[in-house]
């Protein structure tokens, strides 16, 4: 029987027109009333054990979801420049991912790097990084990488170079550990807090990073150290220029004309350094992709050579 059948084309056209109308109305309403709220990260269930039971046999894929959420929390906070960065959910998400999948290597390793990152660029929670890695070590006692990363958390996060060196040493004594851990432990003990020690740490991470992100992150940190070295050298150039009676205000062009520089200096990412014409101080360009630079510890926190 076909008498009751609706004609397909006119009905589809009518449906499309109605849908377009509803979309148009929604757009106008949103513009007029600003009903949308900023998206917030919410963690409804906080216990990995409860989620593991709720996930039935899908715990691995649920762990992946929590891991990706952790990456998004970190990434979203990193993108914020002026607003307050919210890392509150970072550790609970990583705890959940590793609770559901105790062998989730990268969740421990990335998680530790993210949590260690000092403020304002990161949450500055090396204590939580250590807690996460110790949990990983309990599930995977042969992972010397986690012991190395605890050393990293103490080095980069809490600037406790003596403890960092002892963890690097401990990692170097584990079966299958990388060759660079012994010299890294020695350098950290002798030169901790100095750029040379940080350079060595990031050089080995750039060469040994298990995934591309880790290597790129370490390479970026090396470029930051290069930029800091370059700024120190440029400050010295400006000071020399002034001490030799060079004309004020001092400019890059003036320094090039005077033969101190071969060209306008830029950081390793290509952003021209900013020179204060009256004091000779050198800063990073405000839009440089290498900002924010890591803080350097005051001299009293630096390891004493030979200690």
């Amino acid at each position: 029987m076909t008498a009751g059948r609706l004609p397909a084309v006119p009905v589809l056209v009518a449906a499309a027109v109605l849908l377009a109308g509803s979309i148009g109305l929604q757009v106008r309403r949103d513009r007029a009333f600003h009903t949308d709220r900023p998206a917030e990260h919410v963690l409804y269930v906080q216990s990995p054990e409860v989620v593991r039971r709720l996930a039935l046999s899908f715990d691995a894929i649920v762990a992946d979801v929590y891991y990706i959420r952790a990456l998004q929390v970190f990434g979203a906070a990193q993108k914020k420049t002026r607003q307050a960065k919210d890392y509150e959910l970072l550790y609970p998400l990583l705890d959940m991912a590793t609770g559901l999948d105790p062998q989730f290597n990268m969740a421990y390793r990335f998680g530790a790097i993210f949590l260690t990152e000092p403020k304002p660029a990161g949450p500055g929670r090396p204590d939580l990084a250590e807690k996460l890695l110790l949990k990983g070590l309990k599930a995977n006692p042969k992972k010397w990488e986690y012991v190395q990363d605890i050393g990293f958390a103490h080095f980069w996060g809490s600037r406790d170079y003596r403890t960092a060196a002892s963890w690097f040493q401990k990692a170097s004594e584990m079966p299958g550990a990388a060759w660079f851990l012994k010299p890294l432990a020695a350098t950290t003990l002798a030169q901790g807090g100095q750029r040379s020690a940080a350079r060595m740490l990031f050089k080995v991470l750039a060469e040994s990073g298990e995934v591309e992100w880790m290597r790129k992150d370490a390479e970026r940190r090396l470029r930051q150290l290069d930029a800091m070295d370059a700024m120190d050298a440029l400050r010295r150039v400006a000071a020399t220029h002034r001490s030799r009676g060079g004309p004020a205000p001092v400019t890059w062009d003036g320094l090039v004309r005077a033969g101190y520089l071969r060209g306008i200096p830029a950081d390793p990412d290509g952003f021209v350094f900013v020179l204060d014409p009256w004091t000779g101080d050198v800063r990073m360009a405000a839009d440089s992709t290498l900002l924010p630079l890591p803080d350097e510890p005051p001299p009293e926190h630096q390891a004493v050579p030979g200690s």
Binding site: L56, A60, I68, V211
Partner: protein, 274 residues
């Protein structure tokens, strides 16, 4: 009523169930799976910071299991109840076949559908993993816990198939003596409880009452232990799953299926279709 079981009759019923499931477009789930996996592998490359191989494996195995569960539960329940709703059961039972053969044939037919489903989905998973493997820098492969195209994945998919066999048998068992809605509720409930085996087994660690602990231990042995078929995490992390474990778990699954189908045949043989 004949009590004997003819392999030929069971095979013919199974072939009909398979054809019907193809007609019902059950295998469309394979296409959906392939689309899901291919799009996921592209998106995850951007989102997972170098973990796409692990996540594609997790997602692939989870999807094979999830699609399989849907087919096993909802088609499994319909196998017997649909015949009753359509009243075609009368015509079927008038033919020279026993009710046991009908139950077995329905089970084997759906298991064949599930086998094809799992095999094609596994092939799609391997293809996506092979492509990801080919485009990955060899340096980063050194950090992988297991190769992308890992034959061990077949251990996981094989045990998923055995698990789906148990779920199908549960669905058929309930559908032989109750309504489709109740059968669906009971099957889903039992499948969920089946994943709590470890909790039931170790109940005495959280309660002081000995009888309660014994009861929980008894339930652990009587209810299907579906968690034991799940080796996805071990396989994805490159941890060994021994042949002995696979053989014993498969044997457990086969015996549990046999128990359920025996009971299903019993209940179905006593059902009055007036």
């Amino acid at each position: 009523m004949s009590l004997g079981v003819s392999a030929g009759t069971v095979g013919r019923i199974a072939a009909n169930v398979f054809k019907e499931s193809v007609r019902d477009k059950v295998l469309y789930s394979v296409v959906l799976f392939a689309i899901l996996l291919i799009s996921a592998s592209y998106i995850l490359g951007e989102l997972s910071a170098g973990q796409e191989i692990k996540i594609v494996k997790d997602l692939g195995l989870a999807a094979i299991s999830l699609f399989g569960h849907f087919i096993a539960i909802f088609i499994g329940i319909g196998l017997v109840s649909k015949e009753m709703e359509r009243r075609s059961i009368y015509a079927l039972l008038a033919k020279p076949m026993s009710r046991t053969e009908l139950v077995l044939g329905k089970f084997v037919g759906l298991l064949a559908t599930l086998t094809v489903n799992v095999l094609v989905m596994s092939a799609a998973l391997f293809i996506v993993l092979a492509i990801s493997d080919a485009v990955t820098d060899p340096f980063f492969k050194k950090a992988w816990e297991a190769p992308a195209v890992d034959p061990a994945l077949l251990t996981a998919t094989g045990l998923i198939l055995v698990q789906l066999g148990v779920v199908t048998a549960i669905a058929i068992f309930f559908s032989t003596f109750t309504s489709p809605v109740l059968a669906a509720a009971f099957t889903v409930g039992l499948v969920i409880v089946g994943h709590f085996g470890a909790d039931l087994k170790n109940f005495e660690q959280i309660v002081d009452s000995k009888p309660l602990a014994w009861m929980a231990r008894g339930l652990y042995y009587i209810l299907p232990n579906l968690a034991s078929f799940d080796v996805k995490l071990q396989v994805v992390h490159g941890q060994p799953v021994t042949a002995g474990y696979v053989a014993m778990t498969t044997g457990y699954g086969a015996l549990y299926v046999a128990t359920l189908l025996t009971l299903a045949s019993l209940f179905f043989s006593r059902r009055d279709f007036k």
